[in-house]
């Protein structure tokens, strides 16, 4: 049980929370117009006449946006609806050129689904997806250029969005956080959304209500809109749940309402109540046909789907012997996962994983570079591990080789060859060094034989030093044991 229980004066309360996440669809053009979605263009550079809501203009559906949404639905284990219908959501605002948003109301593209989230205590929980639909994004209002005027940038107007609605299955801020991180991973894996909450390409509304523990009622909820980071979503849920508890405990009631989250104070603020909620007058969009998908179309997308994080993690654990923790870390990001798989191919996967999670990530951090910029290729890391596994070099030498690889990008075989770093396994040669060490340290030999067995480590160290670190430590140990009997 991972739910957060609020301890009130009158009893315990549990949190009921659902999320609505708007994800900008990765596509070249907007969902109903051919204008570019390219981020970072000049103000009002990517605006077609359709986006600007000019007289006589008509929407045309972008097939790529449909594919992306289907991919996402499949990634969330959801049902793809073969027929969906576009609707007009009518209201007036400066960032909405048509005076209505084209969305899907009664018949969304994607139906129910489920996502497994892993919680910090090691348990996992299934979060239900209610639906996903596709719609237009609005333009951007810029209020802070002038004290008396608001400026409008319509580059974003008409960009495709997927609206993902979960069931109210969250019982704690942590669960919501875990879900958002998982969702982000999934859409980035699929390449359907870049999940950048700070850039606004993924936005979250959280609906929060509370109820006494043991009750099954659903009390009125507050919808907290447009929270733009996972951390803030979690903060907002916690604050709001406590706020509602205080009201209930002092005998008050909660009305269905919309609120905003203030990042500086960590509090939610009232925006509008249900009475003043817009009547959107939804009706089917007469300028677009209903979307009818064939089984073949959906099957084709399904067959082309990349392996998703859950499946990858499962395979890393089952087939490659990684610990669940390592598997989670290495499968979190598709780029990382694929890099790892390349490195591990044909080599000891567990060892490769250890090297990646340890020295390799540390190196990237130190150099402040990304995986893509790594001087060491995945094949070369794999080769390095291979050299260790086949006893060509020992662990210590490997670290030196790694350091050289990080500077030069060379492959490890070449480095070992050039620098003559091959491990010495020749027992004769090692024996010779051991004999010299024993001969030069009679006092310690005496002490060891007299009972100070922890001196073994010292002896091994001396032999390694004398061999410039190249001796195979396992062999050294074995021979030393024999000689010091």
């Amino acid at each position: 049980m991972s739910g957060m229980i609020l301890k009130g004066n009158t009893g315990d309360w549990e949190i009921i929370c659902g999320l609505e996440i708007h994800c900008q669809i990765i596509s070249k053009s907007k969902i109903f117009s051919g204008a570019s979605t390219h981020y970072g263009a000049d103000i009002n550079e990517n605006v077609s006449f359709v986006d600007a809501g000019m007289p006589g203009m008509l929407p045309v559906l972008n097939e790529e946006c449909v594919r992306q949404a289907i991919k996402t639905g499949l990634g969330l284990n959801a049902k793809i609806n073969k027929r969906s219908v576009f609707s007009r959501k009518n209201y007036f605002y400066a960032d909405l050129p048509q005076g209505y948003q084209i969305t899907q109301f009664e018949y969304p593209l994607v139906g129910e689904g489920a996502v497994k989230i892993d919680l910090e205590d090691g348990s996992s929980k299934e979060i239900g997806i209610e639906r996903i639909h596709i719609e237009q994004d609005t333009g951007k209002s810029i209020h802070d250029i002038s004290p008396t005027k608001t400026f409008l940038d319509f580059n974003r107007a008409g960009v495709g969005l997927m609206e993902i609605v979960t069931k109210p299955d969250f019982r704690s801020p942590d669960e919501a956080g875990a879900f958002l991180r998982k969702l982000r991973t999934i859409v980035r894996y699929l390449g359907t959304c870049d999940g950048n909450m700070d850039e606004g390409s993924m936005r979250c509304d959280a609906s929060v209500s509370i109820r006494p523990v043991g009750s099954s009622e659903l009390r009125p909820r507050a919808e907290i809109k447009n929270v733009n980071s996972v951390k803030f979503v979690m903060q907002a849920i916690e604050f709001e749940a406590n706020r509602q508890m205080q009201i209930y405990e002092s005998g008050g009631e909660i009305e269905q309402q919309t609120r905003l989250f203030d990042q500086t104070t960590g509090e939610t603020r009232f925006m509008r109540s249900k009475e003043f909620a817009h009547d959107y007058r939804y009706f089917p969009e007469p300028d677009l046909l209903p979307l009818d998908l064939s089984d073949e179309f959906i099957a084709e997308i399904k067959s082309g789907l990349v392996e998703l994080p859950d499946a990858k993690k499962e395979r890393f654990v089952q087939d490659m012997g990684l610990t669940p923790y390592d598997a989670t870390v290495l499968s979190e990001d598709r780029e990382t996962a694929e890099w790892f798989e390349k490195a591990a191919k044909g080599h000891d996967a567990k060892k490769v994983a250890n090297w990646m999670m340890g020295d390799f990530f540390a190196m990237l951090n130190e150099k402040k570079i990304t995986l893509a910029e790594s001087p060491i290729s995945p094949e070369n890391l794999g080769a390095l591990v291979e050299l260790i596994t086949s006893d060509v070099i020992n662990g210590k030498t490997a670290k030196d080789v790694f350091a050289i690889m990080a500077e030069t990008g060379d492959n490890p075989e070449k480095i070992v060859e050039e620098k003559g770093l091959k491990q010495v396994t020749d027992t004769g040669a090692i024996e010779k060094i051991i004999d010299e060490v024993i001969a030069s340290n009679p006092a310690n030999v005496e002490a060891y034989k007299g009972g100070k067995t922890n001196l073994m480590g010292w002896f091994v160290g001396q032999v390694m030093k004398a061999s410039q670190g190249k001796a195979n430590p396992g062999v050294v140990n074995k021979i030393l044991q024999q000689k010091l009997l």
Binding site: G53, M54, P55, L58, N90, P97, G99, D279, F283
Partner: protein
């Protein structure tokens, strides 16, 4: 010179081919008529100099023995079609001065086929009306007016008046509930609303998306066929555009109608139907019968719900289509202290009474609590109305009805203006067809005792303009209306 304007498009094409006069001379002839006919207020914007330039270009082609379907033919364009670089106002204060930077698909096709544009034609504001009296430029006057000014009909009053007064060789119109057919009947000219989806709506200022259709208004059936050949065709920029081939509509003219079954809907014999109109209706049926057609009584049982259905659906779609007229990005803005104030001021100032009325009705029928009872119900009844036609067309090939219950009435007729229902009843024979998406044509068959033209309407199956043109051509020949003027 004025002889040139008497020619039909078919005749003018022949004469141009035979070099009997030049394309520029033809424009000049029409320009002279435009001067004479200014009292009809058919044109709200004249572009004679442009037409002459276009004619010059046409002449170059004609001299080479080349040329498109309408090479050198001067047309008038209803001011609802966005014409690039030419003021397009929808005859609304809101759009006075608006010059679109894009061309509607239909007008682009006419230009591509060699037509020249004499100017933009008057209409009821935003195509909402049946008399062209709601125009911000004043009413279009029927050229058949004698002592009292009569309405030209609506909404394409300017188009019908211009053709009737020989101020253009042909004109474009749009028809949502009868706006091509009714003014054609009032002005003694011929017009066709093709099947929904035949002509692209891209660039036509939208009134009711699921009903609007472009079509030609011309001197006779053949001219309508020639114009429709150029206007029709699939357009990827209009998602409701039909992917059907465009036949050469001209080739159906003169086809034998022996055995063609002519349906006469018994419900259209309304109480108090004007006796003269009823007489012409009977006469038209007799004429077709004399050619071997079979007269069949059919029933369209849901006819009596058509007006109510139309006046729920059309305003509903219009209320959303006109939401983009907010003064923010184009059009005539009237500033306010807040965004809402600016919206209210601009729209109050920019829209006429009829438009406001329809926006309010449309908003109401979509609003929470009323959507199911009005809008959804109306869409269901619409299906029943369409089914009536589908069933009827099992017994007949085309349907014959009067176009309008009255002849052209006086401008400013208070009994019409003060009683919106009386005005809306004008549409009684035409709206069912629009609701069903079917093609229908109006052609003049005779004069009433006041010497005003009366029109008959022929309705066809979806995409069966072929039979429409066949039947209409036969009826036109027999009615011999041209002789009557």
């Amino acid at each position: 010179m004025s002889e040139l304007t008497k020619l039909t498009i078919a005749q003018a094409k022949e004469c141009l081919k035979n070099k009997e006069f030049s394309a520029v001379e033809l424009v000049e002839a029409y320009a002279a008529k435009m001067d004479e006919g200014r009292k009809y207020n058919a044109y709200v914007c004249e572009t004679v100099e442009l037409a002459k330039e276009q004619a010059k270009q046409s002449q170059i082609k004609l001299d080479k023995g080349e040329g498109g379907n309408l090479e050198g033919i001067p047309l008038g364009i209803k001011d609802l079609f966005c014409t690039k670089g030419i003021a397009t106002t929808a005859c609304s204060e809101f759009l006075k001065g608006f010059v679109p930077p894009y061309e509607s698909t239909v007008s682009a096709k006419l230009l591509a086929d060699g037509a020249s544009f004499l100017g933009k034609l008057n209409l009821d504001e935003f195509a909402m009306g049946g008399s062209n009296e709601t125009s911000a430029f004043g009413p279009a006057i029927n050229p058949w007016s004698k002592d009292i000014s009569l309405v030209a009909g609506g909404s394409s009053g300017g188009s019908a008046a211009a053709v009737a007064a020989e101020m253009c060789a042909g004109a474009t119109g749009t028809d949502t509930g009868g706006s091509i057919r009714q003014p054609s009947a009032y002005c003694g000219v011929t017009g066709i609303k093709p099947t929904y989806g035949r002509c692209s709506r891209y660039g036509i200022i939208a009134f009711a998306s699921s009903l609007d259709q472009a079509g030609p208004i011309a001197k006779d059936v053949r001219d309508c066929a020639i114009m429709l050949n150029s206007m029709a065709g699939y357009d990827a920029k209009d998602s409701t555009s039909a992917k059907v081939d465009v036949p050469d509509f001209e080739k159906f003219l003169g086809g034998d109608i022996k055995g063609m079954r002519i349906g006469i809907p018994k419900e259209y014999r309304v109480d108090g139907l004007d006796k003269e109109i009823a007489a012409y209706w009977d006469k038209a049926a007799e004429m077709l019968k004399a050619r071997g057609a079979e007269i069949v009584e059919i029933s369209l049982p849901h006819s009596k719900y058509a007006l109510a259905t139309y006046y729920i659906i059309a305003p509903a779609e219009a209320s959303a289509n006109l939401a983009r007229y907010d003064g923010l990005r184009f059009g005539n803005r009237v500033d306010g202290d807040t965004l809402d104030e600016m919206y209210i001021n601009s729209r109050t100032n920019g829209f006429g009474k009829e438009v406001k009325k329809r926006i309010m009705v449309g908003t109401y029928v979509l609003s929470a609590g009323y959507y199911d009872a009005y809008y959804v119900k109306a869409q269901k009844v619409r299906r029943l109305i369409r089914n009536d036609f589908m069933n009827a067309f099992e017994k007949c090939d085309v349907i014959l009805t009067p176009t309008a219950p009255v002849a052209a009435f006086a401008v400013g007729d208070k009994s019409m203006q003060n009683d919106p229902i009386a005005m809306w009843l004008n549409d009684i024979f035409t709206v069912s067809v629009s609701l069903s998406g079917l093609p229908a044509m109006s052609l003049p068959v005779g004069l009433n005792k006041e010497g005003l033209p009366l029109g008959m309407q022929i309705i066809g199956k979806a995409f069966d303009e072929a039979n429409l043109f066949k039947a209409a051509y036969a009826l036109e020949e027999d009615a011999n209306f041209k002789g009557a003027k």
